[in-house]
């Protein structure tokens, strides 16, 4: 396992509020990591920084074997480098079909001219069908994404993430709005992905995290409070205090 993402001492302040405070975080490939923490702990801000949406006031974010800095790259460049993100609130393009949503996510050249001349190859078609089967939307490909149920939108967004074929997957609350059966399917999928990808899952549901069976990072007030197995961090006095509210 080699280091894929190395975040060193980042801090960011919004209007005097320190959302991230001297946070360091490292993940390798392949690896699965769960990030937990109470509301306002900085989980989403952390993802915003890695994906280039927010610039930290200080610190460094290094990527890949060459250790390139992600801080000087645009959102699109970071995504092209191999960082994929699933949002907490499912954000799919509701006006377009499931098929179209998957098509634009598919890993292919991203320039305007390549898109203009893009033809759907047999390979693309197979890949989209595979993903659609995986996310249980094979029979919904021609439906508008807007008419899907909340859970199906979650799945579609996961499918788009798969289509992007990133090296690092940042997954924000994937199980929200899903049935128990779907949750199990999601954990299986994430575990399978973690065999050759780096996967960071932000989740509130402890049962879900337990099933992921991976290293856990606990965030609190913008920095890492504890790190280790779920049982290890749950036994930590400070974690119990801030997270479990006792």
């Amino acid at each position: 396992m080699s280091t894929l993402l190395e975040v060193q001492g980042i801090s960011v302040t919004f209007d005097g509020f320190r959302a991230i405070n001297n946070l360091s975080f490292t993940i390798g490939q392949p690896e699965m990591r769960a990030v937990i923490g109470p509301n306002g702990a900085g989980k989403t801000t952390f993802m915003d920084i890695v994906t280039g949406k927010t610039r930290p006031d200080e610190g460094s974010v290094r990527w890949g074997e060459m250790g390139h800095s992600l801080l000087s790259m645009s959102e699109a460049q970071i995504a092209q480098a191999g960082v994929g993100r699933k949002f907490q609130r499912p954000t799919v393009f509701e006006d377009q079909t499931v098929w179209d949503n998957l098509r634009i996510a598919l890993k292919k050249p991203r320039g305007p001219f390549s898109s203009l001349l893009d033809r759907v190859s047999a390979e693309d078609r197979t890949r989209i069908d595979e993903i659609a089967t995986e996310i249980g939307l094979a029979h919904h490909l021609q439906r508008q994404a807007g008419v899907l149920s909340h859970g199906q939108k979650q799945w579609l967004e996961i499918g788009m993430l798969l289509a992007q074929d990133p090296r690092l997957l940042l997954v924000d609350e994937p199980a929200a709005g899903m049935t128990t059966e779907e949750r199990n399917h999601t954990t299986d999928l994430l575990k399978r992905l973690a065999r050759n990808h780096a996967v960071v899952v932000v989740e509130h549901d402890m049962e879900f995290v337990r099933r992921l069976d991976c290293k856990v990072t606990v965030l609190h007030e913008g920095s890492v409070l504890a790190e280790g197995t779920l049982d290890h961090v749950m036994a930590d006095e400070r974690v119990i205090e801030v997270y479990l509210g006792r």
Binding site: A76, Q80, D95, R103, I104, R119, Q164
Partner: protein, 390 residues
Amino acid sequence: MEGKSIFTRNRSVPIFIGLLALFTLGVTILSEGYGTGALSVSFTKVLGMTLCLCLAALAMDLVWGYCGILSLGHFAFFGLGGYMIGMWLMTARTEAVVRANLAGNVIPPTEAEVSTATALQIFSVVGAEDWPWMWAVSDSLVLSLLLVVLIPGLLALVFGWLAFRSRVTGVYLSILTQAMTLALSLYLFQNDTGLRGNNGLSGLQNIPGAEGIGQDRISIWFFWASALALGIAYIGAAWVVSGKFGNIVRAIRDDEQRVRFLGYRVEGYKLFVFTLTAVICGIAGALYYPQAGIINPDEIAPIASIYLAVWVAIGGRGRLYGAVIGAAVVSLLSTYFTGGRAPDIDLGIYTIEWVDWWPVLLGLGFVLVTLFAPKGLGGLVDLIVRKDKA
């Protein structure tokens, strides 16, 4: 859905092209130049000009309806296209007149003398007598046609690059585009800018090389050219929005930040659409003003670009034919009400003069469409199509 021609992929394309061809045939049969003469020359020109406005509206639908950029400056590109072809038309026409006048001289005039006399003829109205630099290629039709495409395209490219890379969006971008067209209009109003200030360029209906041919024929030629341009642009626009590019552009309209996280450089796509549509508007303007006969800076006042957006909103966004319907209906009604054709209504104590009341009517129509038919006039087509299927 894939691998088929654009004619089968987008059902509106064959229908639109068919209707446009029928309309062109009908106008030709009724025209003075080639048919029964039921349509006057001036009305033929109105119809030809309407097609050019439809072309501009089509471009507006691409940039606003599909890509979500509410540009309120696209008529500036339309006007620039007109100015670019206008310089050639005016130079060539004036030069022919000057040559005819000097032909009676005992000593034949030199080229330099013809050039000087032509410049004097064109620019004496603004107190100048030399060729301004921007008329450098006005003696070449080919280069002037190139400018019709290049100048609006370059302006859009530079403006768009500055605006999009700074991530100016929404109402701020709309205001910025209004400022652009206002600045251009005010600049052109100056007498010393080289484009004859508020006099503008005139006599554009006189086509060099076609002196012996009457306006009855020329008007129908331009009608044909306008119809052809609209037809080609419609097919082209339908092709652009049909594939993956269209999916991405609509995705940008709905959530551009999400598109960035998918790895697309949103700015590049916006710039592409903005520039492409500016070029389409330039071509539309170059076809429009020879039919109008005159162009002046008032044509690109901010209100003109707002009208363009109103046409598309009334016609219905994001469906191409909606923009064409909106532009045709509203601009023809506008011609009817403001051209003195509509009879004034005498209410006894007050007379409704349509020239003054047309903007009120248009505003009312806009509000009604927004409230009761948010999909615009083009949305009515959905009702027909749905009945069709049921």
